[in-house]
């Protein structure tokens, strides 16, 4: 279905592109929010990614690769948004709150706070790898393709980022090796 829509959108079919936005918008937004930890900035990044997508779509040679390509645009838009926002602010922004916490959540308030703080220590490049791996469940080889880095670098970033998060939870000493989902 996506391939057919991509073919149509590539030829300038706005309705097909709108369907692509409907199909992929939620997932893109979920990823962007988790990388940027900010609702507004995530919306900006998604919008930026889709506008670039529309502009550059005629250049996409293989519609089968649309998903990976869109994720790459999104991750790059998140990087840009992160850096743009960082230039403006001096750490005065409060942590965003997005609705009530689920009462049966397995993460405690203390865990959330610790993870939020630790996650904000990560660079956007590390955040992207963590989100694509832990939240999306994307294979490491695909992450390498999306992010545009060698597989070894993906593993390295994931190792260091996950260690930081685990340490924040009090689970690891500095020398423990975290579990990484198989590629």
């Amino acid at each position: 279905m996506t391939v057919a829509l991509v073919e149509r959108a590539r030829n300038g079919d706005e309705a097909a592109f709108a369907e692509l936005v409907d199909l992929h918008g939620d997932r893109c937004y979920a990823i962007a929010y988790r990388i940027l930890r900010d609702v507004e900035r995530a919306q900006d990044a998604v919008q930026q990614a889709f506008l670039l997508c529309w502009r550059e779509l005629p250049k996409l040679r293989d519609p089968e690769r649309f998903g990976v390509w869109l994720h790459r645009l999104l991750v790059n838009a998140c990087y840009e948004e992160y850096r743009r926002h960082k230039r403006w602010t001096t750490n005065i922004r409060a942590l965003p709150i997005d609705g009530p916490e689920a009462p049966d959540s397995i993460t405690s308030i203390a865990d959330r706070h610790a993870l939020e703080q630790a996650f904000r220590e990560l660079t956007p490049e590390h955040r992207a790898v963590v989100v694509l791996h832990h939240h999306v469940g994307m294979p490491l080889a695909t992450i390498a393709e999306v992010v545009g880095i060698p597989l070894g670098t993906v593993k390295s970033r994931l190792f260091h980022a996950t260690r930081l998060l685990r340490t924040a939870l009090g689970a690891d000493s500095d020398t423990d090796v975290p579990e990484v989902r198989p590629a």
């Binding site: 939620d26 937004y29 230039r87 998060l165 690891d172």
Partner: protein, 406 residues
């Protein structure tokens, strides 16, 4: 370790928390922006990129567009002037006092085959804030938009075109008399978009496709002297086989205290048609400092309708041009909010908004593709109380809301 306390499970669960549904407003903004990008390619709208410095070319394009509209559609005329349109929708943003009377005068440019001082296709008009009392200014040159001086005693003609000469701004008395073209040295085109709060200086932009070294934002004294450069445009123009894109730092407005300025940075696309790939972002700069700060993401400002206006109280910067919404953002780029205007349809396109002198209302041009009309409207600063101000057979642009006559 108990699985419920497995750190990886906790990390995964924490990452799964949070929003997962893209807001409908963002979806609409995306699809509307895409439609706008397409309109630029397929239909000669009156706000072609060349508007800034080449009004005659634009006027020609508008004649074609208007003629097409009339041949193809029963529309083209608005039904009424004055009464509120649609249902007001409240949004969080600048506060208003709806009891304030409609004061001041609004100037605008009309693109029409039957009006205009010299060029047959363009005219500059003023109306009262309630839409009544329309008058055409008798100007010796075809001119782009008009901007009132802070005290309303003079007008700035953003750029005028004279045969064989570079585009230059001009100033005139409020009734259009005593026009003085500002003779500024330089092989570039120069257009200006705003008066300083004291009325002494103008915020301008230079552009030259052949020599982009001069491209950027400038300020000059209102008599054309004391040219002072404020920005160096890092994005040069691009010539393609299908279009020419000048790129540009387009002047928008001074801050009310005169220490800062806002402008729109336009970046060209590439390939055969660099105009179709243009994007833009809004920047704020401080007089005397080289570095400027982007206050919108790329693509959130319209590259062919560059405009932004600083609120009279200095708290907000207003812009439109990407959808059926208007936007305000703090001068530091934070707290961007939409002004939900009760536009008649989602395909409405709102552009070049300007504040009333007291900041209680906003005037803007609205293009309605379904009705094939482009007219001026005003709304309270929170988006309520939408009123249509003009009604005619033409397209309008460059609204500027000035004070009442001194």
């Amino acid at each position: 370790m108990n699985d419920m306390r497995d750190p990886n499970v906790i990390i995964g669960a924490w990452l799964d928390e949070g929003p997962t549904e893209l807001p409908a407003t963002t979806r609409r903004a995306i699809t509307t922006s895409v439609r706008t990008m397409d309109q630029r390619r397929g239909f000669a709208l009156p706000w072609d990129r060349s508007v800034s410095f080449q009004p005659l070319l634009v006027a020609a394009a508008v004649i074609v567009a208007v003629a097409g509209i009339y041949l193809l559609s029963p529309f083209g005329r608005s039904t009424s002037v004055g009464p509120p349109v649609g249902s007001p929708t409240k949004s969080e943003g600048p506060s208003i006092n709806p009891a304030l009377p409609l004061v001041g005068r609004i100037a605008f440019t009309r693109y029409d085959a039957e009006v205009g001082p010299l060029g047959p296709n363009i005219g500059t008009f003023t109306i009262n804030a309630d839409g009544e009392g329309e008058q055409q200014l008798d100007l010796p040159f075809p001119a782009d938009g008009l901007v009132w001086s802070p005290d309303g005693s003079r007008i700035l003609l953003q750029s005028v075109v004279r045969d064989g000469e570079r585009a230059r701004p001009a100033v005139a008395d409020a009734d259009g008399s005593n026009v003085q073209v500002l003779d500024v040295d330089g092989a570039f085109d120069l257009g200006c978009g705003a008066w300083s709060p004291d009325g002494e200086r103008l915020l301008c932009s230079a552009a030259d496709l052949d020599d982009p070294s001069s491209d950027g934002i400038y300020t000059i004294a209102a008599d054309g002297t004391e040219l002072q450069r404020l920005t160096i445009d890092p994005f040069p123009g691009v010539r393609g086989s299908a279009s020419e894109c000048t790129g540009q730092d387009a002047p928008a407005d001074f801050s009310p205290d005169g220490t800062q300025f806002v402008f729109v940075r336009v970046m060209c696309g590439s390939g055969e048609d660099p105009v179709s790939g243009q994007t833009a972002e809004i920047h704020v700069g401080t007089i005397g400092e080289a570095e400027t700060q982007a206050i919108t993401i790329t693509g959130f400002a319209h590259p062919q309708l560059p405009s932004a206006r600083w609120s009279p109280d200095g708290q907000w910067i207003l812009f439109g041009g990407t959808s059926h919404l208007l936007y305000v953002v703090r001068p530091d780029g934070t707290e961007r909010q939409t002004i939900q205007v009760a536009a008649p349809s989602f395909d409405a396109f709102l552009y070049r908004p300007d504040w009333s002198p007291d900041g209680s209302r906003i005037v803007f041009a609205m293009h309605l593709p379904s009705a094939e009309s482009t007219e001026l409207y005003s709304t309270a600063a929170d988006g309520s109380d939408l009123r249509q101000l003009t009604s005619g057979t033409s397209s309008v642009d460059f609204p500027s809301w000035g004070p009442s006559a001194p």
